[in-house]
């Protein structure tokens, strides 16, 4: 048999957070839950969670909302760029 480059180890075991220079933060009180950030994230690093209280209004609070998984977000800023409400801030990561 030959040696074939297939791997059975999930990439979930390989966090890429250390690659990030800038960190996106969603301001949930402005976020309208359009999920455009979720669609655009090239790393599938934005996940969907059920309703949240810190929303602009009660109706939106019942909707699903985006949560960034910082273990895999590489900080590319695409989500911030695409967000129609401009409610994703990009800030430099600081080592404390």
């Amino acid at each position: 048999m030959v040696l074939v480059p297939v791997s059975t180890v999930s990439t979930r075991n390989h966090p890429t957070d250390s690659w990030r220079i800038q960190r996106p933060t969603i301001q949930y009180d402005k976020c309208i839950r359009c999920m455009i950030c979720w669609k655009y994230c090239p790393d599938n690093a934005i996940e969907i969670e059920n309703g949240d209280e810190s929303a602009p209004n009660e109706r939106i609070a019942k909707m699903e909302y985006p949560v960034i998984n910082y273990s895999f977000c590489k900080g590319c800023g695409i989500c911030a760029n695409e967000c129609p409400e401009k409610c994703i801030d990009m800030e430099f990561e600081v080592i404390e």
Binding site: M1, L3, P5, S7
Partner: protein, 392 residues
Amino acid sequence: MKSVTEFKTIMTGNDAVAYGAKLARVKFISAYPITPQTTIVEKLASMIANDELDAKYVEVESEHSALAAVFASELTGVRSYTATSSHGLLYMHEMLHWVSGQRLPIVMSVVNRAIGPPWNIWADQSDTINQRDTGWMQVYSESNQEAMDTIIMGYKIAENSEVMLPLMSMEDAFILSHTSEPVTLRDQDLINDYLPDLDLKFRIDIGNPMGYGSYDTPDGTFMELKKDMVDSMNKAVRVIKDETEKFNQMFDTNYGGLVERYRMDDADYALIAMGTVASTARFVVDKLREKGLNIGLIRIRYFRPFPYDDILEDLKNIKAAGVIDRSVSFGYAGATYSEIVSALYGKINIPVSSFIVGIGGRDVRVEDIEKIADTVRNESSGVYWINVKKVI
């Protein structure tokens, strides 16, 4: 007893190759359909349209995508095929490495054509010689029949569990690709006996998800994977010889393994050629034999894996050899020449010359090969360009 339905007909090299793919029961074909593409995929597309071939045909936007599509389909365990030529092959360069590195036994036909500038669509092997180091096996055919049979043998060799490397099957542009010759269409049942269905052990299986070619580190297995490709290429030498012999027995053919010898038994001098130039060289060998010169011909079929052992064996009693290349490495000589010289180094010390012929489809005439034989007989060594005009 099976009824054998072989029949002889007349067809171009491109049609012969398309029938080769059909006989090999390819299930997926992808191609970029404009120049430098050839009538190979046109023929296959019409076979599918006429329900003569049960395969999926996907048109894509570039040769890079064509090989990417074939890469993906082969990875699902489906025997896949594509064809290209010259600049199209160069555009595939990155994917060539992905296919071999992923160990996918894809067979691809390449019509050998010149690379510009200036634009030129005629016979020249520079396009595939450029892909020497991509991990593909390379076969150069001399007739339309051989081009057809090589597709079938190609899958059998590539899919061998010890090999698992892709194979490029070449025909010289126009001389084979667009020229009609008598070709025997093989019996499908016999081909089915010779070539079983593809059973790709590591195919994509949604019940057992795996990462393909994902990521590896200097301390991982990257280096070992590359070495394994070289080991498999070396093991392919035996597999090629065995499978060619099996094919010869089943179909009453007489293909050499990695090389084919003509009047070499008592030869003092040898010509070495690859592709259709060998046909003219064979004619010249006969002509010179009549004049009493003991000369023979070695036709290289497989450029990768290179037939180092065969060459050493064949040249051990030879006084001088001439290597004829229809390609050139700028800054050195012909590609086959440098392989031959490195095969001989430290073992057989004879003069070997490099002859560059037929670049950009320039005709390679009997008188050109006679001139080459003359130089070889004078036991000189050097790099010679044959039939070149004075331009300034």
